[in-house]
């Protein structure tokens, strides 16, 4: 299969969907002629023009609100936030309108809207450009939270997101954008709520979130040299969450580590650990363990970046500790 980067694969998915359905359009800052800060729309302006690739002023709440209205009226907007941190300016309309209109209208209104943007800690991106925020959206009824970690899934999940009639948060980790991998040509849809077992193993289970899947795979590779067999699970979508795949892995291994660079309190690991306790208590041979980023805004200083988020080394150590329990 041909290989391409994560960002190119996602863009191919977007282009295919735009060709298929004229109701799809993209709004955001610099996504027109410029092709997006992260090249999310490069080349699309030339094909679909300014009507469907609308550059906006720096007014997140304004263009998000307009897109909510457009989605309720039958269009299928893709709102490109570039950095997902800027979404916080549109919180009010996202929580009060985007997530609720379908429920409040008894299902007569649909909300086929994709909110996309980059997440994650990257070198000196600092406090305003490093956020993750996905636990907020897992918490609220109505949002789909989609988090691909491979180029193939980026294309397949973006296409599924655009076709969804529910609001979708499509989150791309900055450290994964340049990752290369096989991507199917043409129609390729990855369903929501279906985790992927990124690496099979039998001694311990790791659920990684976003970039941490890649780090967990590196840790698993290192531990394999010592004869430790680590199973790595990539949930792919956090809402809906495929707890069954996690449970069946824990049934096998008896031990679970959740690695997430986001803050620990009320986070993804807290939710997964709770569900595993409720549904798989008797399968556990040790308490569920989590490894998170430090609970503080990301610093600018490179010196302060050390140990800010889990690394291959700290994941290996956490797994060794868990296996020694």
């Amino acid at each position: 299969m041909r290989e391409m980067t994560f960002v190119d694969a996602a863009r191919e998915g977007l282009a295919e969907e735009m060709a298929r359905d004229p109701a799809i359009f993209v709004v955001g800052e610099g996504i027109g002629v410029r092709g997006g800060n992260f090249n999310t729309t490069v080349g699309l302006y030339d094909r679909y023009g300014p009507e469907r690739l609308r550059d906006t002023p720096i007014s997140e709440r304004g263009f998000t609100g307009i897109c909510i209205g457009a989605a309720a009226s039958g269009a299928r907007p893709v709102v490109d936030f570039m950095f997902i941190d800027f979404l916080t300016d549109a919180f009010g309309d996202m929580f009060n309108q985007m997530s609720k209109l379908q429920w409040m209208s008894g299902g007569r209104l649909k909300m086929p809207i994709v909110v996309r943007g980059c997440v994650g800690v990257a070198p000196s991106n600092a406090a305003h450009h490093s956020g993750n925020y996905y636990p907020f959206f897992m918490h609220v009824p109505g949002f789909r939270v989609v988090m691909p970690t491979t180029p193939g899934d980026a294309k397949g999940l973006l296409k599924t997101s655009i076709r969804s009639d529910d609001p979708v948060l499509f989150l791309e980790h900055k450290n994964l954008l340049a990752l290369k991998g096989p991507v199917p040509e043409g129609e390729h849809l990855v369903p929501f709520g279906k985790a992927s077992v990124a690496r099979g193993g039998k001694d311990v289970t790791v659920v990684g979130v976003a970039f941490m899947v890649k780090k967990a795979l590196e840790a698993a590779e290192l531990l394999a040299k010592d004869g430790v067999s680590v199973e790595v699970i990539d949930p792919r979508t956090l809402a809906p969450l495929d707890i069954d795949t996690i449970l069946s892995s824990v049934r096998k291994t008896g031990r679970l580590l959740v690695v997430d660079e986001d803050f620990a309190p009320c986070g993804v690991a807290a939710e997964i650990a709770m569900q595993v306790m409720e549904l798989g208590f008797d399968d556990l041979d040790a308490p569920v363990k989590r490894l998170n980023g430090l609970s503080c805004p990301a610093p600018y200083s490179p010196a302060l970046m050390t140990n800010l988020i889990p690394t291959t080394t700290t994941i290996v150590q956490a797994l060794r500790d868990l296996l020694a329990e």
Partner: protein, 416 residues
């Protein structure tokens, strides 16, 4: 100070009970939570554990095993090292058993085992489930992990190494009790009798804590049938039954193969010099296996007399608990129900059990070369043995020896 050990009240209506066995010897150190002795009352045998720690001292006036005594009777003392047993006169009058440092082990089987010396035993949910499935008493295990929590691997390793103790209480039974049984009118909900509970516990331990392998072979019992016919014709009563004959034949085979006349005791394998054969008896109360002792040294008539007496008393509910213990090998016979072969469960702590099928006339090839067949009485023998104690070849040799003894039932008369 010294703690009294008295006959506990194990049920609301229990007035008296008998100590049927001490799990500790006079002078042994005892830790709170350990099983101290077994009490039989209302035909149930229950384990009683110590709540206090100390050295066990059993005074001479302690009631003999099997003797019914009133609740509250002084049985023993738990003393500090160097401390003397209080004299009988100084002993306080009988106290309420609940305050006497003991609780029946079965009464809290579903809870976490009481921590010795106030320390909580920790176990992972997964390990607890494995222990319950394997019928292992996890309170006796230790953790291999840094958390101090007993892990699944600790349970499985103990079972593999043969160091696991069967669940002291009827945990296996309780797991079934937990399934809601009441509700639909088409079901009968029966209380579990004491014999049923003990059988469940022991069968479960025999099936799950051993490494059972069953060997089967078919023996030509024509001469055995003839011998039994002749014995029946004699006037002396009772005439030896097939079970008596199998007991005698097996005892002599076991003398040649002592590795199967053995049991685990702590870290060692103990081979018994005598052959004590337990005979499985179906009674109204359930399965009982009274033991005929020293079968190798007794005449067939003697074995027949003792077995008949034991079986009759077992059926009448008058058998002494001691007569149900101490077997080194068990025989179980389902021939009267037209069963040919089966897979008996080892009667712990024994190493092996012989299942006897029906004796049935069959057409058998007696000379393949000459194309000759004959009608012979055949019997299938099923030997289940514990592969932890002994390997397959010695077990097969024992079964082959028993088969030879069946086929030539006069041979053992010649002696070793």
């Amino acid at each position: 100070m010294a703690f009294e050990v008295v006959m506990p009240r194990l049920g609301w209506n229990m007035e008296e009970g008998a100590v049927v066995g001490w799990r500790k010897k006079d002078g042994d150190p005892v830790t709170a939570g350990e099983i101290l002795f077994e009490v039989e009352s209302d035909k149930a045998v229950q384990e009683v554990e110590a709540l206090e720690s100390g050295l066990l001292r059993i005074p001479p006036e302690s009631p003999p095993l099997g003797t019914q005594v009133p609740v509250g009777t002084l049985l023993a003392w738990l003393v500090k090292p160097g401390e003397e047993m209080p004299s009988r006169a100084a002993a306080a009058p009988a106290v309420a058993p609940a305050a006497a440092g003991m609780i029946p082990a079965g009464s809290r089987a579903a809870e976490a085992p009481r921590p010795p010396e106030g320390k909580r035993i920790r176990i992972s949910p997964r390990a607890r489930r494995a222990a319950s499935e394997l019928g292992v008493d996890w309170a006796l295990l230790s953790s291999s992990g840094s958390s101090g929590r007993i892990l699944e691997r600790d349970v499985r390793q103990a079972v593999a190494a043969g160091t696991a103790a069967p669940a002291a209480s009827a945990r296996a039974v309780r797991a079934h009790e937990a399934v809601p049984a009441a509700g639909t009118p088409s079901q009968d909900v029966l209380p579990i009798s004491s014999v049923r509970r003990l059988t469940a516990e022991r069968m479960s331990a025999g099936a799950h804590t051993t490494a059972p392998v069953t060997l089967t072979t078919e023996a030509d019992a024509t001469d055995l049938v003839r011998l039994r016919g002749q014995l029946k014709g004699e006037s002396a009563q009772p005439a030896p039954s097939y079970n008596d004959l199998f007991a005698k034949l097996s005892a002599h085979a076991l003398l040649d193969h002592p590795e199967l006349n053995a049991r685990f005791e702590g870290d060692s394998i103990v081979r018994s010099a005598t052959v004590n054969i337990a005979i499985a008896v179906d009674t109204e109360r359930g399965l009982l296996a009274p033991v005929v002792r020293d079968v190798q040294a007794k005449s067939l008539r003697q074995v027949a007399r003792e077995a008949a007496d034991l079986i009759e008393r077992a059926r009448a509910g008058r058998i002494h608990p001691e007569e149900l213990r101490g077997g080194t090998f068990t025989i179980t016979n389902l021939g009267m129900y037209e069963i040919d072969a089966f897979t008996p469960i080892i009667n712990l702590p024994e190493c092996a059990i012989l299942g006897v099928g029906r004796i049935v006339a069959k057409q058998v090839v007696t000379d393949a070369g000459a194309g000759q067949v004959a009608i012979r009485h055949m019997v299938v023998l099923s030997l289940t043995f514990d592969h932890r104690l002994v390997d397959g070849a010695p077990a097969a040799r024992l079964l082959q020896k028993i088969k030879r003894n069946v086929e030539k039932p006069y041979i053992w008369l010649a002696g070793a």
